[in-house]
C-alpha cells in the first residue's frame, strides 16, 4: 500500500514584486512529504523558508507551480476555502506562541474548533482538555496565558495545533523564544507526537533542534540545497547531556 502524501509540490515558485524589482523568494520547489514524516526546514534568513512555510500553510499562494495538501489541490481555492483548509488540515505553531491574552489555556486550545464548520467535533471542551493532557498541561487548563511560562505557553500552542486532529503540524521557529532546556522539551514533544503518527514540518535555524527531526531540508536562495535523512537523531537524553557538557 502506497504511503499517503501529505505535501506534494510541483515547480513551486513565489515572486514578490516591489515596484520594478522582482524578488524570487522561491524557485521551482519540488517537495514531497509523506504521512508520518518529521521534517526540519533550515536555511539562513532570506533563504525562502518562511515563504515556503506560508505557502505550505495556505496563508499565501504560489506565483506558479502546484501545491497539493493531503490530496487537495490548493492552487484554485478561494479565501474562504483556504481558511477552511487551514482549519481542518493544519495545526500552526508560532515562534511567539500567538495565544490570546487574558484567556485560559483551555479557551485558547478550543479556538480552532470555534471556526470549524464541518461539525465533526461535538465536544470541544473535552477535546481541548485531551490535547492539553497530551502536552503535559493537564493541571494548567484553567490558567490564563499570562500565568504560564514561555515553555508552558508553547505547549499550549502545540495543544491548540493538535486539537483539530490536522493532517499536518506546521511549526515556525517553535523554539526561537525559549531557552535550551525548554527547547529540548518542546522538540521532545514533537518527537513523541511524530511517534504517534503525526506529520510535522518545522522551520528552525537551530541545528540542535533540527537534529530531532527525521529529515532535514536546507534552503538557500529559494532553492532546495540539500534534502537528506538525519542519521544520528537527537533524543531528549542525548541533547540534555550535551547541554550539560557545554554549559
Amino acid at each position: 500500500m502506497a504511503i499517503k502524501k501529505v505535501i506534494e509540490t510541483n515547480k513551486l515558485s513565489r515572486i514578490f514584486k516591489n515596484g520594478e524589482i522582482e524578488v524570487h523568494a522561491l524557485t521551482d520547489i519540488d517537495l514531497v512529504i509523506e504521512e508520518g514524516e518529521f521534517v526540519a526546514i533550515m536555511g539562513s534568513s532570506g533563504s525562502g523558508k518562511s515563504t515556503l512555510l506560508h505557502i505550505i500553510g495556505c496563508l499565501d499562494r504560489p506565483t506558479s507551480g502546484e501545491y497539493e495538501l493531503d490530496g487537495v489541490l490548493v492552487n484554485g481555492l478561494n479565501k474562504n476555502q483556504l481558511a477552511d483548509i487551514r482549519n481542518q488540515k493544519i495545526g500552526f505553531i508560532f515562534q511567539s506562541y500567538n495565544l490570546l491574552s487574558r484567556t485560559t489555556a483551555l479557551e485558547n486550545v478550543e479556538l480552532p474548533l470555534v471556526y470549524d464548520r464541518t461539525g465533526r467535533f461535538s465536544n470541544s471542551k473535552e477535546l481541548a482538555k485531551k490535547a492539553l493532557e497530551q502536552v503535559g498541561l493537564a493541571d494548567r487548563i484553567y490558567h490564563k496565558t499570562n500565568q504560564l511560562s514561555g515553555g508552558q505557553q508553547q505547549r499550549v500552542t502545540i495543544a491548540r495545533a493538535l486539537v483539530n486532529n490536522p493532517a499536518l503540524i506546521l511549526a515556525d521557529e517553535p523554539t526561537g523564544n525559549l531557552d535550551t532546556k525548554n527547547s529540548i522539551e518542546i522538540a521532545d514533544i514533537f518527537v513523541r507526537l511524530n511517534n504517534e503518527g503525526k506529520t510535522i514540518v518545522m522551520i528552525t535555524h537551530e541545528k540542535e533542534i533540527a537534529q530531532f527531526a527525521k529529515r532535514m531540508i536546507y534552503l538557500r536562495d529559494g532553492k532546495v540545497l540539500t534534502d537528506e535523512l538525519i542519521k544520528d537523531r537527537s533524543t531528549k537524553e542525548s541533547a540534555l547531556k550535551e547541554f550539560e557538557l557545554t554549559s
Partner: protein, 404 residues
C-alpha cells in the same frame, strides 16, 4: 447559524476581557442616548405646559382686537377703535359667539387704608368670567344689572388682596382706583405666574361701564373677548364676526380688515409649531452628542483592531474566515452601543426625575424618545463599527501574525 452563535460568544469574551475599555467606549453612547431622551422629553414637557396654559386661557376663545402694526419696534394702532356699537351689533347678531365681553384696560393704583399697589383694571361685562374661565373664590361676580347701572363694584386678584387686605376678607371693603371708590364684591381664584413671569393675580376687574365713565375717558375699546358656542364652531365664529364687523365699519370689498381676530385654535397651533421646532432642535443637538459617541466607538474599535492585530492574524491562520472576523468586531461594536443605549435610557429617565425633583418642571419621558435614542445607538454601532471591523477582516494573515 451555529457559527453566528460561536462568534457571539467570541465577541462577548472580548468585551468581558476589556471591561474598562468597554465601559469607556459605552460612555459616549450612554451620555448621547440619555441626552436625546432628556431633551426630547423636556421639549415634550414644555409643549404640554404651554398647551395647558393656552387651554387655561379660556373657553373656545375668540379675541377681537384693534388692528396693530409694528413699526420700528413700536406698536402703532392702525385700525379704528372698537366701539360700543360694534359690541352691540356682535352681541345681537352673532350666532356662533355665545358670550362676548368688551375690555377697557387701564393701568392704575389701587389704594386701601392699609396699602397700595400698581395694577391693571379690566373693565368688562359680566360674561368675562365665563369666557376666561376665571373662578370667583370669595363673594361673587357682578351682574348684568351692575354693568347696566355702572355700579362702582370690583373683583380683585390674590396679589391685590395680599397687598391691600393682608389677612382679612376684602369683601365689602372699599378700595380707591384713581380716587374713585369701588366696593370689593369678590376675590378671583389664584392663577399663578404666567409666561415670562408676569403676575396674573395683580388685577382688578370692574364693569366696563363704570371704568369707561369714571376712569377711561373714552367710550371705545381695544379688545373684545368672545367665546364660541363650541370648539368646532370657533372658525365659524371668526368668519361671522369678520363679516359683521366689516359691515359695521362700512368697509368696501377691496379694503382690508381694520381689526384682528385671533382664536384659541390659532394660538394653540402657533405655539405648538414653535414648541415642535424647539423639540426637534433640542433633539438634533442631542443627536450630535450621540454621533460623537459613535465616533468614540469607532475610535476605540480602530485602536482595538490595531492592538489586536496579532490576535486577528492568529484567528485567520487557524481557520477564521474574513466574515468571522468581520462579524466578531461588528457584534462587539453593536453590543457595546446597544448596552450603552440601554444604560443611556436608564440615565435619561433618572435624569428626567432629577430635573423634576430639582425644578418642579415635570418631564414625561416620551416613549418615542426612548425608541429614537436606542434605535439611533444601534444604528451608530453598526455604522461606526463596520469600518474598523472591515479593516480587521481585510488584514493579511501573514503580516498580522508578525505584527509587533
Amino acid at each position: 447559524m451555529l457559527q453566528i452563535i460561536k462568534t457571539f460568544k467570541v465577541a462577548f469574551q472580548a468585551i468581558k476581557k476589556n471591561r474598562t475599555r468597554s465601559l469607556l467606549t459605552m460612555l459616549g453612547i450612554i451620555i448621547g442616548v440619555g441626552a436625546v431622551i432628556m431633551t426630547i422629553s423636556a421639549g415634550e414637557g414644555a409643549t404640554k405646559q404651554v398647551q395647558d396654559q393656552i387651554s387655561g386661557l379660556g373657553t373656545n376663545l375668540v379675541i377681537i382686537a384693534v388692528k396693530q402694526d409694528h413699526r420700528a419696534g413700536m406698536t402703532v394702532r392702525k385700525g379704528k377703535e372698537l366701539s360700543k356699537k360694534d359690541y352691540e351689533i356682535l352681541k345681537e347678531n352673532s350666532v356662533w359667539l355665545s358670550k362676548l365681553s368688551p375690555m377697557a384696560i387701564v393701568g392704575s393704583q389701587a389704594i386701601s387704608s392699609e396699602g397700595y399697589k400698581s395694577t391693571v383694571i379690566y373693565g368688562v361685562s359680566e360674561e368675562y368670567f365665563d369666557i376666561l374661565s376665571r373662578e370667583v373664590v370669595l363673594g361673587e361676580a357682578f351682574s348684568e344689572l351692575d354693568v347696566k347701572l355702572a355700579k362702582q363694584v370690583c373683583l380683585i386678584g390674590e396679589t391685590i388682596k395680599q397687598e391691600l387686605f393682608e389677612g382679612e376678607s376684602p369683601i365689602g371693603k372699599t378700595i380707591r382706583l384713581d380716587k374713585v371708590p369701588f366696593t370689593v364684591v369678590g376675590l378671583l381664584e389664584e392663577q399663578g405666574k404666567g409666561g415670562m413671569g408676569s403676575d396674573q393675580d395683580n388685577l382688578v376687574v370692574a364693569p366696563y361701564t363704570t371704568v369707561q365713565n369714571r376712569l377711561y375717558g373714552s367710550s371705545n375699546f381695544t379688545v373684545f373677548m368672545g367665546s364660541a358656542i363650541s370648539e368646532d364652531k370657533i372658525g365659524d365664529a371668526k368668519i361671522e364676526t369678520t363679516i359683521l364687523l366689516r359691515e359695521a365699519h362700512k368697509l368696501l370689498p377691496n379694503q382690508e380688515d381694520d381689526f384682528e381676530i385671533t382664536t384659541q385654535v390659532e394660538i394653540t397651533e402657533i405655539t405648538s409649531k414653535i414648541t415642535n421646532i424647539l423639540t426637534v432642535l433640542l433633539g438634533a443637538i442631542a443627536s450630535i452628542s450621540l454621533i460623537v459617541g459613535g465616533i468614540g466607538i469607532m475610535n476605540i474599535m480602530l485602536v482595538s483592531v490595531t492592538e489586536r492585530t496579532r490576535e486577528i492574524g492568529t484567528r485567520l491562520a487557524i481557520g477564521a474566515r474574513e466574515s468571522d472576523i468581520l462579524t466578531q468586531f461588528l457584534i462587539e461594536a453593536v453590543v457595546l452601543s446597544a448596552a450603552g443605549g440601554i444604560l443611556g435610557i436608564a440615565f435619561g429617565i433618572i435624569g428626567n426625575q432629577i430635573i423634576y425633583k430639582a425644578t418642579d418642571f415635570y418631564i414625561p419621558t416620551a416613549g418615542y424618545a426612548i425608541a429614537i435614542g436606542f434605535g439611533f445607538a444601534a444604528i451608530i454601532g453598526i455604522a461606526f463599527g463596520y469600518f474598523p471591523a472591515r479593516k480587521a477582516a481585510k488584514l493579511n494573515p501573514i503580516d498580522a501574525l508578525r505584527y509587533e
